[in-house]
């Protein structure tokens, strides 16, 4: 039993990992076929994994409603919104947002509730940036000063009014982005990628197991 629970998952990870890392170097049709099938499978499996994520959200709010924690009414709103969307989507509109160019009920819900809600959610950050610009973005060190100076040049150089008033900001912005920013970003990219490769290697070789999660006897 412990073999099934503990060693078998690690063995599967090892075999899958090594096989599909090597697959990259093998151009033979057999190897191509393998990746074709597997990638197709993964497409379907990720659908199941998505449901897992949705379900855990479901659970969180179900608990809130059951225990009547403060603000449980909002969880009810969430449930109702979800229920209505699912019912309309599955049974009335058959998953279509548009039939012959005409909006369906499902499409209406998407266009008039989801789109404005999601778009507005992040647009309020514009206000907070403005307030932070006034109250918090201080040149408290030489580094922060450099950062702010670069930011101001880019903010000028990237809009028509800045280009109109101070044309040189355009050229400096181009240089900052293409050369200095590229250098910093490239180094970060290389560093982060080494971290990602190291993590993948550790997962395949069983040094890193947190992804297995769930269940006891970890």
């Amino acid at each position: 039993m412990t073999f099934l629970r503990r060693q078998l998952p690690l063995a599967i990870t090892l075999i899958m990992g090594v096989t599909f890392a090597l697959q990259y170097y093998i151009p033979h049709p057999i190897s191509e076929d393998a990746i074709t099938h597997l990638s197709k499978w993964m497409q379907i499996i990720s659908g199941f994994a998505l449901v897992l994520g949705l379900a855990s959200l479901f659970q969180v709010h179900a608990t809130k409603i059951r225990r009547k924690v403060p603000g449980w009414g909002y969880s009810v709103i969430l449930y109702l919104a979800m229920l209505v969307t699912v019912l309309v989507g599955l049974f009335w509109s058959k998953g279509q947002t548009r039939v012959d160019g005409l909006q369906t009920g499902f499409g209406w819900i998407y266009d008039y509730t989801m789109v404005p809600l999601q778009a507005t959610m992040f647009s309020i950050l514009a206000f907070f940036i403005a307030s932070a610009a006034y109250r918090a973005f201080r040149a408290r060190s030489r580094e922060a000063a450099l950062l702010l100076a670069a930011a101001i040049v880019v903010m000028m150089g990237r809009v028509p009014l800045g280009q109109f008033l101070l044309p040189w900001t355009w050229d400096i912005t181009q240089w900052l982005l293409n050369v200095v920013n590229s250098a910093a970003r490239r180094a970060i990219l290389i560093g982060v990628s080494m971290g990602a490769v190291a993590l993948s290697v550790k997962i395949i070789l069983g040094y890193e197991r947190s992804y297995l999660g769930g269940g006891k006897d970890q």
Binding site: L125, S131, R140, A144, A151, Y207
Partner: protein
């Protein structure tokens, strides 16, 4: 890039005086199985000539069957200007090139007009055409085969294997000696200062672990650093406030803080309500934490872990209450805001390094060390490579490619 232009410069005089050259067929025409592919394709290589020009066109003709076959039915596959399709540096590595750099290379994949099957011989010839004149090259035969290994990518594999080896060796070394040298992270000194100031002012310390769950590296790093902070706080009578948005992270943090107090010899000072849960909703959580900052005016705010758009709302309020703020995150899209609103920021990998430095967990320390080795190799390659590439141009030599090709990405 530059090498290409040099190549063109060398060849351009030829193009400019193309007219006087008599029309000759492409030389040294060789058909071969396309290297490193899944089969069903033949390639052709031939020598570059000073007579190559835009006006002279090359046509690839193919036929089924071997070159010695009596009757070959040639079909025209494609045509192009004779001064194109050169093998440029970067196309093939020196250890696996079908022809020297500067020669021509043309690939004929299987198509509906001319299907190519594996294992059967095919014959190719090239026709050079200028206006209505044409000359044909000798024929050459090849058999297409699928390949079992892409030799051009052997440097990629070598890099992966070497890096894996270094990583494992470092982890093992760290298991034997978890206290191997790591440089002190400057940001950790700021932690000390912040705690000292809170005690002086008699105000609480606020510690956030970010938006991630326990499966994420930055969150784990945040809990490790929390342990260190708690140990120091335990020595003074300062209050810790750790608002949470994930119940599991909260449970882990309770353990961490409790342990830290015990280790500091102050288990009596530990209180269960240091950690408390607010809500999992991003903005409601943020609003509640902002409320705490405004009411209790903590002397120090710590923001460790991964953050999203809420970072700005949190640090702005913190800055306005005059708290010392220390951040540590690998969420690169939020880093600019942390740097400008906080007094000290652990940037990206510094956060992991800090947690390795503090916890001395062999896998963390070993990984950090292994990556350092990898970086050292890359840094050396950057400097040496640039020097060699420059030298190559200066002395007009391709020999430098023997080294440069090792760090190129081939297909």
């Amino acid at each position: 890039m530059t090498l290409v232009s040099i190549l063109l410069l060398v060849l351009l005089p030829g193009a400019a005086f193309a007219a006087p050259f008599p029309l000759t067929p492409p030389e040294d025409v060789r058909a071969l199985d396309t290297p490193n592919d899944a089969g069903k394709s033949i390639s052709v290589v031939w020598k570059a000539s000073p007579a190559d020009s835009k006006e002279r066109r090359v046509e690839i003709w193919m036929a089924e069957g071997g070159a010695n076959q009596a009757k070959l039915e040639f079909k025209k596959i494609t045509e192009f200007a004779s001064n194109t399709r050169y093998i440029k540096p970067g196309d093939f590595p020196w250890w696996d090139q079908p022809a020297p750099k500067g020669d021509h290379y043309g690939k004929v994949p299987s198509s509906q007009a001319f299907p190519i099957e594996d294992g059967k011989p095919y014959t190719a010839k090239l026709v050079m055409r200028a206006g209505d004149q044409e000359v044909s090259s000798p024929v050459s035969e090849a058999i297409s085969r699928p390949d079992w290994f892409n030799l051009a990518q052997i440097n990629n594999l070598a890099f992966v294997l070497a890096f894996t080896g270094i990583l494992l060796a470092s982890i093992n070394a760290a298991r034997r000696n978890p206290h191997m040298y790591l440089r002190r992270i400057a940001g950790l000194d700021a932690v000390e200062e912040a705690i000292g100031r809170s005690t002086e002012m008699g105000r609480p310390i606020l510690y956030l672990t970010g938006a991630g769950d326990m499966g994420e590296v930055p969150t784990i790093a945040a809990t490790v650093i929390l342990g260190e902070v708690a140990k120091k706080v335990a020595h003074y009578d300062t209050t810790l406030k750790i608002p949470h948005r994930d119940p599991i992270v909260m449970a882990v943090c309770q353990e961490v803080v409790k342990e830290a107090y015990a280790e500091a010899g102050r288990p009596d000072a530990y209180r269960e309500d240091f950690n408390f849960f607010i809500t999992s909703d991003q903005f409601s959580y943020t609003a509640a934490v902002d409320g705490i900052m405004m009411r209790e005016k903590p002397a120090a705010n710590f923001f460790m872990g991964s953050y999203f758009a809420e970072s700005l709302l949190l640090t702005e309020t913190g800055a306005s209450t005059g708290a010392i703020q220390i951040a540590g995150t690998d969420s690169d899209h939020q880093l600019p805001f942390f740097v400008t609103t906080c007094d000290y920021t652990l940037i990206g990998e510094e956060l992991y390094a800090a947690s390795a430095y503090l916890s001395r967990e062999p896998v963390l320390v070993g990984t950090l060390r292994g990556q350092d080795f990898g970086k050292a190799i890359i840094m050396a390659a950057l400097i040496l490579g640039t020097a060699l590439a420059t030298l190559g141009v200066a002395i007009q030599s391709d020999a430098v490619n023997y080294v440069l090709d090792l760090f190129k990405d081939f297909k």
